[in-house]
């Protein structure tokens, strides 16, 4: 029972981190119709910038400044890159962001090298916050939870309660009407792209020290972010949150408990072939949940696409 609680917390941390990445991606998609392949690369840039700043000014300045730089870079990419490519249609836009992802990875390797870099959590957040039956919850994880909840709250407030948020929401559904009313829609697009990438930057800053900062970190998270927004529903912020949490908990529990395929199949009334190592079904019978944990989100995505193609909370078809 204690372990359930611990795993709930661990899953929450994973889920919220995923949310910070997918929130920006889903906003950008719903507004501009662009799947930004380079989104996870901005996450990586956040971690590297924060590391470089923390070397001179400490972790907290990194947390403050790195996302701003990443956001500014993101806005620049939209203004001088995507906007020009936009006129040629969606495929060139996709290819543009894809190329950008490769470019960012190479540049990062060029500047910081191929090794992992020693980006550490600050001294004040080291150590355990509390322990449940010998399992310590690091203070840093508690910090991650509160920071991401605060960001979610802030985002929700801006989008639903402020004038800027209303314009953004209007621009989401009826960009031409909003433009006709005298609002600068391209500016709104640029702003959303900037904020979205800055969010990815924040995720990188706080995930870098725990998930390690290396040139492959964007690739590792890249695909799962897309899965999240497809499950949650493209363009839906709430959907992104729910999907992130589902994925976080699902993978954590699958890894933490050794559920065996053998038990499931026996429960379904099948008998285990003997000897198992001669059987053609050996691989299926000997599967355990930690082995398949990382593909479960993809499985869920396939199911969602079959039964509810617009995602859990989405309004439009994928």
């Amino acid at each position: 029972m204690d372990l359930v609680l611990v795993n709930l917390i661990d899953g929450l941390v994973t889920g919220l981190l995923l949310f910070m990445l997918s929130a920006g991606l889903t906003l950008i998609f719903s507004m501009m119709g662009v799947l930004n392949f380079a989104h996870a690369s901005f996450y990586m840039l956040g971690a590297y910038f924060a590391y470089q700043i923390s070397v001179y000014l400490g972790f907290w300045m990194g947390l403050l400044v790195a996302p701003l730089i990443v956001g500014a870079l993101g806005a620049g990419v939209e203004r001088y890159g995507l906007r020009r490519v936009h006129q040629y249609g969606h495929v060139p836009e996709l290819i543009f962001t894809f190329g950008l992802a490769l470019l960012i990875e190479e540049v990062v390797q060029f500047i910081w090298g191929k090794d992992q870099i020693p980006y550490e959590i600050p001294g004040i957040l080291e150590g355990a916050a509390f322990a449940i039956a010998g399992n310590t919850i690091p203070l840093y994880k508690v910090f991650m939870i509160f920071l991401s909840l605060a960001i979610f709250g802030g985002l929700l407030f801006v989008l639903t309660k402020t004038r800027v948020g209303m314009i953004i929401q209007a621009a989401l559904s009826y960009p031409r009407t909003v433009e006709a009313l005298g609002h600068n829609v391209p500016l709104v697009f640029m702003g959303v792209f900037g904020v979205g990438t800055a969010l990815a930057g924040v995720a990188g800053v706080i995930a870098g020290p725990v998930l390690s900062t290396f040139p492959g970190m964007a690739v590792v998270l890249g695909s799962i972010v897309f899965v999240t927004i497809v499950i949650g529903g493209l363009g839906s912020l709430g959907g992104a949150l729910v999907a992130s949490l589902i994925i976080g908990w699902m993978t954590t529990f699958a890894k933490a408990y050794d559920m065996r395929m053998e038990d499931l199949l026996t429960w379904m009334g099948l008998t285990k072939p003997e000897p198992i190592w001669d059987s053609a079904w050996q691989d299926l019978w000997t599967l355990t949940s930690p082995q398949v944990a990382d593909i479960l989100p993809y499985l869920l995505m396939v199911l969602i696409l079959i039964f509810r193609p617009y995602g859990l909370f989405g309004k439009r078809d994928v």
């Binding site: 372990l3 020693p118 010998g134 390690s212 290396f214 492959g216 590792v220 990382d294």
Partner: protein, 414 residues
């Protein structure tokens, strides 16, 4: 100060000697290892260590035979067996007789097979394979051949040494074994279970698990299992990012026992563990650098760091490869007849720069050497890794480890 003058003098003499014997040849050694891709930093660092060893240990001392010098020729195999075979052919076409490779046992298997076939078909330009790091036991057992020499202790010998040390710790009664889901991870897991069962039947293996290699983002769930299993120690064969992330995660999540492992040093890993891994990480390795076993080793490391300030003297066995090859060529009196050189290498005994005696076992061409258990710490460290103040200090030395380890090798000699 006197030491520096000594080095300077020998350098001058080497130059004079080299100038004096203008007719001397160069003996080319092909270095086939990753110089691009994810393992590029390991490969590049290894190449620097080879170039430095060839330069300081052979060329500056007058070379071999009549002043022949060693030249390391680098070939990038991108850690791919297929690419390695292409590069091997290029090397052979350039007239190279000696191949060194170390990263990945998969590549080593491909090379050793290809070299055996080549040598059988082309008796006039045969090649020797000096494997300095690939530790799959099969290379000196069922898949052994006369042309392959391994200078690292194989995975079984290392696990034997590691479990010797674990068996002495009476407070360890529960052990958790975790590794990457591929041949090496499985070899480590089975060796750990069988050796511990022999040496300390009372130790309970509370977990034995394989995780996907290079795919795990967050090791927290695995750490939770390790902590709640009540394990006193963790054994893992993980390397690269998997090693760092697993280690950091179990430490952060409340595990307070030792982590016994193979590859948790250098290439950024030592720096990243830093304080958190202090006195927790224990490595089974060879080649003592802390404390340096003698003045010669100390001077060698210092000279290397002076030339490559960002590099690490992390693969000490590379100097053994170069020194023993030079000795074998001198003994054989030829560098072109690799059969004679191979026969000189067989059964060779050599005093290692890093302390202890090296013995190339003739039955399977496995180098028998002292195996060390070292600890990650910043105390008593003369030569750190990753310029982080942290390094590996020797705790145990198992002399001539695996001297009587069995082998199934049935070698066909030329």
């Amino acid at each position: 100060m006197r030491k520096t003058t000594g080095i300077g003098l020998s350098a001058v003499m080497a130059t004079l000697l080299a100038a004096g014997t203008a007719s001397a040849d160069t003996i080319k050694i092909a270095f086939i290892d990753p110089l691009s891709g994810p393992f590029a930093s390991t490969g590049t660092n290894g190449l620097h260590q080879y170039e430095f060893a060839a330069e300081t240990l052979v060329n500056e001392k007058g070379g071999v035979l009549d002043g022949d010098t060693f030249e390391i020729v680098a070939f990038d195999n991108k850690t791919s067996p297929k690419e390695s075979l292409v590069q091997l052919q290029v090397a052979i076409d350039q007239g190279i007789r000696y191949v060194v490779q170390g990263n990945s046992s998969g590549v080593a298997h491909a090379l050793t097979d290809a070299i055996e076939k080549h040598n059988r078909r082309n008796p006039d330009d045969r090649v020797l394979f000096l494997n300095y790091s690939a530790v799959d036991p099969a290379l000196t057992n069922e898949n052994c051949n006369f042309w392959h020499f391994r200078f690292d202790a194989n995975a079984d010998i290392k696990m034997d040494a590691l479990t010797d040390v674990i068996a002495e710790q009476d407070d360890i009664t529960k052990v958790y074994v975790i590794g990457q889901d591929y041949s090496f991870g499985k070899a480590v897991s089975s060796a750990a279970t069988s050796f511990l069962g022999e040496k300390r039947p009372d130790i309970e293996i509370v977990g034995n698990e394989l995780h996907p290699i290079g795919k795990v983002k967050d090791f927290t769930p695995y750490s939770r299992k390790i902590v709640s299993s009540g394990a006193d120690a963790v054994i893992t064969g993980n390397w690269g990012a998997d090693m760092l992330n697993l280690g950091k995660s179990v430490i952060d999540n409340g595990f307070d026992g030792p982590i016994y492992t193979y590859y948790a040093a250098a290439d950024g890993i030592t720096a990243a563990f830093g304080e958190s891994g202090k006195d927790r990480l224990r490595l089974v390795t060879e080649g003592q650098t802390n404390p340096p076993p003698n003045d010669r080793a100390a001077a060698y490391i210092e000279a290397f760091k002076a030339k490559y300030p960002d590099g690490n003297m992390s693969q000490t066995r590379i100097t053994n490869v170069i020194e023993m090859l030079a000795k074998a060529i001198n003994e054989a009196g030829t560098a072109t007849d690799v059969v004679a050189v191979g026969e000189a290498l067989e059964g060779m005994e050599h005093e290692s720069m890093w302390g202890g005696t090296l013995y190339m076992r003739p039955e399977d061409h496995q180098l028998i050497q002292d195996v060390l258990i070292t600890v990650h710490t910043n105390e008593g460290i003369d030569y750190d890794l990753d310029n982080s103040d942290y390094g590996q200090r020797m705790e145990h030395r198992i002399e001539m480890a695996g001297m009587d380890s069995p082998t199934t090798c049935k070698m066909r000699r030329p």
